[in-house]
Subunit: 329 residues, 2 copies
């Protein structure tokens, strides 16, 4: 393979200095049009492509964004990652992806690795709260969905969204309800639970509300629902509200296995609106997180020069499907 052409080759061919080549590359106005044209011709003639590594060494920045997710296999994070990649593209940036596998140490190692590679900014979906995290970073770091360290967070308004579900269930007449919460060591888990419980209490103090804690995954939902549904019919809840679609889908499976009809005998709700929510049987009533908006905002903040970036919350919206119905008598 013949060597790639450099600014020097372009300069020679165009009969200008490398400085001038660099200036037209940068799109600087201050270049005489005739020279600019010659340079551009030389660029296409040679098939010149800037060496981004050399550029990065000089400018100390690259056109890549680092994204840390707990687990790309989780459909919600996959959706978020897809949205972040699209948003990054809009800024002509590439995406570096790292999975923490819910391991804090791995999370921090990935930050360091990203810093070493001088990424332009880091977006992190944290595995769990870690307010003590002390991390000096020369580049912006934004938390997405779940707060990383003490960095500014872009997320759905979890409390508001969870309250939507509470109202929906209440209106359907449910008065014996189980809430399957997310891990209490995540802000998202706490905010959703609080939003749900608060709204429910507000609506009436007659509601029997039980709260159970699990992880955000299928298994937690299935297990908790299984326990609940093996109670005698008059003792069990008429609705299970879960803190994630995955938990809700687990609950649906448990109901199926135990021959509990959804939604006739039991209503089930999720949170996230992953693709799957609309595919399971019965289709899941849930709350939609605006992943595209969240992702776009996160990368916008990365590029905003502003020094006082605060948290941003975006409202979720109720998606009524068929896993919820009137409370049984």
């Amino acid at each position: 393979m013949s060597k790639m052409p450099t600014v020097k080759d372009v300069a020679e061919r165009a009969g200008v200095s490398v400085g001038t080549v660099s200036r037209v590359l940068a799109g600087e106005a201050a270049v005489k049009p005739s020279l600019r044209e010659k340079v551009n011709e030389a660029i296409v003639a040679l098939g010149y492509r800037p060496n981004v590594t050399a550029r990065a060494l000089r400018t100390r920045r690259t056109d890549v964004i680092g994204l840390i997710v707990p687990d790309i296999t989780n459909p919600f994070f996959a959706q978020l990652a897809a949205s972040v990649e699209r948003a990054a593209q809009d800024y002509r940036h590439s995406l570096m992806l790292a999975s923490s596998h819910d391991d804090r140490e791995a999370e921090q190692d990935h930050v360091v690795a990203f810093l070493d590679r001088s990424v332009r900014g880091i977006i992190a979906i944290a595995s769990s709260d870690n307010p003590d995290l002390q991390l000096k970073s020369p580049i912006p770091i934004i938390s997405l969905d779940r707060r990383f360290g003490a960095f500014p967070l872009v997320s759905t308004n979890h409390a508001q969204a969870a309250a939507l579900i509470a109202s929906h269930l209440f209106e359907l007449g449910h008065r014996r309800i189980a809430y399957v919460a997310g891990p209490p060591d995540t802000e998202a888990g706490r905010a959703r639970r609080k939003g749900f419980v608060t709204r429910m209490k507000q609506l009436s103090d007659e509601v029997e509300l039980e709260v159970f804690f699990g992880k955000f995954d299928y298994e937690s939902g299935e297990k908790i629902a299984r326990d609940l549904l093996s109670r005698s019919p008059q003792d069990r809840p008429t609705a299970i509200a879960a803190a994630s679609d995955q938990q809700a889908i687990g609950a649906l499976r448990a109901a199926r296995d135990l021959n509990v009809d959804v939604p006739r005998e039991l209503s089930v709700t999720g949170f996230d609106d992953i693709l799957l929510a609309n595919l399971v049987v019965p289709r899941l009533t849930t709350v939609r997180q605006p992943t595209d908006t969240l992702a776009r905002r996160a990368v916008e903040l990365l590029f905003s020069q502003s020094s006082d970036i605060g948290d941003e919350m975006i409202d979720g919206s109720l998606i009524k499907r068929v896993s919820t119905g009137p409370a049984p008598q």
Copy 2:
């Protein structure tokens, strides 16, 4: 922020030349132990971390691998991506992720972008066949799961795996079978169909086998199954074998909507064994693709110096669950 220390700072503090620092960094044996020690002390004292960009500029290689997927939101690709990331980690490499959204042009743009960033190697899951793709690359490119251009492919032995399903269905007594194929413009789609059909013909020429073509997604499976199941019971197949789990899950949903009992009235099989396959109702009989092995092999090949890299196929394995049963009378 105080400036990051460089080799020069380390050299000064250790009382050696930068060349020597670089040599101990490279782990070269040819450094006097006493000096090596001094250098190492200086490194920790200063908290020195090599500038990977400068290193990349000199050596023309980075420690990142580029991965191109059609859509990270597809659970099978997400699993594959997770496996690739893990394998890359084992080689201390980071992962750059790009989605092609089934767009060939985007696919090629991503390759170019990766090349610009001098990644160490590229792993590509192609959106569709493109044997005419002419692409000069100074770095290794490996196709994973679906062939990209004419680059060597690491994949499951699609034909063998599909034959496993054919045998399973035949043994259960099914003689009226519909095969929902993947896109004929993908090697994977063709190989699976061929493997299935060939084995079935081999088993008996009494089997009524209909083949339908779709995409690999939920919608295709649902639509095709819906058409099939709206026929009169004696005209419809007793088994639907799909070329992907997503298609099969779509088929399951159609069966549910049309009140066709699986597996009593209809057997359904998938392909991939995504996490979801074990979560749907009823749990899906499918064939497992060894994603970890596939991914590991692909990155191994990236690092293998060998110049004659050929295709590699890895066998799949039948996972019997409850979406298949004896053919109805």
